[in-house]
Assembly symmetry: C2
Homo-oligomer: 404 residues x 2
């Protein structure tokens, strides 16, 4: 008899950002005169940089002519893009990669949601807590996470690695040995990073334990401090234990343009099997490549002009981050993040829960943020603000919060 | 201990089209003077229509300005596109759909590969034989198909529904009751269709059996004959048993531009659970939408100019189909398809296997086609040629084959 994938029904409520959107919509409809400032979802607001726009127009023109029209993309993505990525994101940091170790995709969300598929259903996952919800949710759908304990807000078969003020928002090596370790640095939502020597401990741990690290570096472009690794492959022997996921969403404003990539070194094996081959097979079977014109735009991000222009955008957002961080600090909030990431992470005041503070802020300051508890049980009592608004709105939002 | 998804290792060899590409590359390197004509992969060759190009440029310009820049797409895709699809592809055929019954995606390959995820791992699938390999391969990866019998070229736990000359390439209702029935009409690779009354039998069968039909109508635009349904929802009560998958690849040349959609009516339930909700959850968790500029281009396909221009492209390809069909018939081949689909399906001559004929054709006519056996065991002894080449190449290829 036909049955559905019952794991889907275990997921509590809807995706975090859908819930926020619903609450904001309701408030907005009841208060049409209030100007709501959204510092909730991590969505960029600056338009695509001129160098990217030019590349898009050029690529569209190529699609208009028989001689330059492009049909199906190569399975792993166009070589011109993979080569450019390797040179700029890896060779420049002393890391060598082969062309077929880079897989172009439509974004880090798809890749971080799909990557679990190539592993056994009984693998045990470990996640930073709090963290981007897709890692856990995609494993719930696959049936790896056990049961959900509603009151605790946690799954029975997930290893949570608390990242709280007490440990400077850096996860500690878990007591139970996981099979898959999701690390996200700079971290979404806390904005925290770890140093290269700290990351090396994780690499050594994974190599010893026979675990695989899934390293999400979507916010790499926001790193401003020395000694924070830009790629996990800066660490020794990372190629034998780590998959790295990258995105064009936050460094180049591609949230609505969709492009990302995943690196799986051929050294990374489980027994005799290269994970690179499994992912290649998935790509070949269930995906048909990112659009040619988007891949062409992705290459333009690495041009001299593209780097300069996107660098200016990142600086704009990071100035917002400074405004938020310093403003909240001066108002007496306990704040972290915002230095190597566009996210500011604050403790909710007066013992409010994350969702209580969400409602409080929406009602009294008409500012939308993201409840920390939506990112995991250790996010309770915290709150995320993002630096992706306009400078004017950001200043106004912080002034409103100061006046509360 | 870390284990991989062992189901991946069950997949025999590589994806059909990768194997073909490899063989062609080897031949080409050994015979650099030969002009190879590719009528193998179903990839379009005409450039994007002018109306689509204009829409792409306009959308790129929107991404360049702060006021019109688009970040994350709505989970299900932009309403302007979903509304247009409903009006043109459904309302025009007497079918009503709600906006949230249409899910925009990056293509039919992703959707037809991913859709199995929302069903239980023990569901039994039935497929037309031969058919597009993604349906079976994606279920192999999920562990639904049992073991592969190499000599027979079949999986122990898949219900194959033979489509051969003897039954006019139309599948018959299976003896074993399946849970999921993949139907693809116009069929890839045979080019066969079934009438509305025949399709109604499948709908009635599925409703009685409690099965779900996954209806892939990627080639709908090529239907030329009356009484061939353009959507399964033309049949009575199809909404309670059928999911429909559509593509922009073949009607508008989007193979390298990537856009598709899937319809899941809210009437379609398993027990109390709407499959629509499960798919919405998957979309929200593992996908971040097709690029805005591509969705804008998709809407342009339905404009008056877009319809006229893409209609001319389809007519061009269908003239190629006629050239292939009539040419092969006059050369004594037994041929079908090419009337409601851009695929011509022929019996291999002199008892050659499909791959023997592939090698024979590549060696002696320097023409690349697709071995029928790559689409399923009942494809053995057949061969697919596609109408997506240029008219000149198509004529030359057929002349070469005639001279063999």
């Amino acid at each position: 008899m036909l049955k559905i994938n019952e794991n889907y029904l275990k997921l509590p409520g809807s995706y975090l950002f859908s819930t926020i959107a619903k609450k904001v919509k309701e408030f907005s409809e009841m208060n049409p005169d209030k100007k709501i400032i959204r510092l909730g979802i991590g969505d960029v607001t600056l338009p695509l940089a001129p160098a990217i726009i030019t590349a898009l127009h050029d690529a569209v023109d190529e699609m208009a002519k028989k001689e330059t029209f492009k049909g199906y993309s190569p399975d792993l993505g166009y070589e011109f893009l993979r080569q450019t990525i390797i040179e700029h994101d890896y060779n420049s940091r002393g890391v060598t990669l082969a062309l077929d170790e880079v897989f172009i995709s439509d974004g880090a969300k798809s890749d971080s949601g799909n990557i679990q598929e190539i592993f056994d259903v009984n693998c045990k996952i470990a996640v930073c807590d709090p963290v981007y919800p897709v890692y856990v949710d995609s494993n719930v759908m696959a049936g790896r996470t056990g049961e959900y304990l509603t009151d605790a807000g946690r799954w029975t078969n997930v290893i949570y690695m608390p990242c709280k003020k007490e440990n400077n928002f850096a996860p500690e090596l878990p007591e139970d040995t996981p099979d898959l370790i999701y690390l996200c640095f700079p971290n979404n939502p806390t904005g925290a990073t770890i140093t290269k020597s700290e990351l090396q401990k994780w690499v050594d741990y994974a190599n010893n334990a026979g675990a695989v690290i899934i390293y999400d570096a979507a916010y790499e472009a926001y790193i401003s401090e020395e000694d924070v690794p830009h790629t996990i492959y800066e660490c020794e022997n990372a190629k034998s234990c780590a998959i790295e996921i990258r995105s064009f969403s936050k460094n180049a404003g591609f949230t609505g343009t969709r492009l990302g990539y995943t690196v799986i070194p051929k050294e990374l094996k489980v027994g005799d099997v290269m994970l690179n081959s499994l992912w290649a097979r998935r790509h070949g079977t269930k995906f048909n490549g990112a659009p040619y014109i988007i891949q062409a735009a992705g290459a333009a991000v690495y041009s001299e002009e593209g780097k300069r222009q996107t660098g200016e955008q990142i600086a704009y957002y990071m100035n917002n981050a400074r405004v938020i961080r310093e403003g909240l600090q001066s108002a007496g909030f306990s704040v972290s993040g915002g230095v190597n990431a566009p996210y500011i992470w604050l403790e909710t005041p007066k013992g409010m829960t994350s969702w209580e503070f969400f409602d409080y802020l929406l009602l009294n300051a008409n500012v939308v943020g993201t409840p920390g508890s939506g990112f995991g049980p250790s996010g309770e009592g915290y709150f995320r603000l993002t630096a992706f608004g306009t400078l004017e709105n950001t200043i106004e939002a912080i002034n409103r919060i100061k006046q509360l």
